[in-house]
Amino acid sequence: MIKENNLKTFIQGTQNYFSSVTGSKPEIGTPYEADENQIHGDFTASIGITGNQRGNVFFTAKRDMLKTLLSQMGEYSADEELLGDVVGEIANTIAGNAREDLGSGFMISPPHLQNGKINLEHLYQQDSSFIIPIHWKGYACFVVISLNEIQLNN
């Protein structure tokens, strides 16, 4: 069962991604349980989770943020293919890095790109879903952890 400490794994993974790739640490907001709202990004990627847990890890962001991110990575181009690809790689890296704490039984699929919005109704099928808000260079983006065993301590 994932407890609050394990949710921190995803937060640390997110911080580590932005710090390593861009040199600037993002601000992480307080994670909250998914409600009726939908989260809208221009690009969204999901990583399917199987093994000792079931569900998805999502990353979603707006086009402008992704263009800035690609530029920081040294990319001179920011076409649709690269914008979609980079959200997939971020989701993949955050989910994959979580195996350091969650172990090799936390099995991840290759990224799947989807329509920009994350439909939270679908997430209700899981035991619990948490939204991690991220602020980086004035842009907002989100990591959503939707797993069938995720649970906060308090």
Binding site: L70, G74, L82, V86, G96, N97, L102, S104
Partner: protein, 120 residues
């Protein structure tokens, strides 16, 4: 020397290409999954391969095993987001010589490749 970059992410393939020193490699090729990489590997004498693990069609671990069977002297650097020790151990068991965790910096990439090149 010839380098083959294997990763399903175009952003990562391009990042690796930018980070490596072109003087070391007379040619650089890339593939987005293990199946395509294996096809290229069979038709061209690569010296170094960078290999992702989680990919569609054929994953990196399966691809490493096949490449080692075909050419045991090949040097393979695994570059993956999978941060558990078990993945690193399994990659080495299958024949990889280096392991670099994503996200990686320019310095970490250079160091990992230099370590691999020392033995070539």
């Amino acid at each position: 020397m010839k380098l083959l970059i294997v990763d399903d992410s175009l952003v990562i393939r391009r990042s690796i290409e930018r980070m490596i020193k072109p003087d070391f490699f007379k040619s650089i090729h890339s593939a987005q999954n293990g199946a395509i990489a294996l096809k290229l590997f069979k038709s061209s004498p690569f010296d170094i391969v960078t290999m992702d693990i989680t990919m569609p069609e054929m994953d990196g671990l399966t691809c490493i095993e096949s490449m080692i069977r075909l050419r045991p002297s090949i040097r393979i650097l695994v570059i993956t987001a999978l941060a558990d020790k078990g993945t690193a151990v399994e990659a080495v068991k299958r024949g990889a010589q280096g392991f670099l965790l994503k996200p990686f910096t320019n310095d970490a990439m250079s160091e990992a490749l230099n370590d691999l090149l020392e033995d070539v």
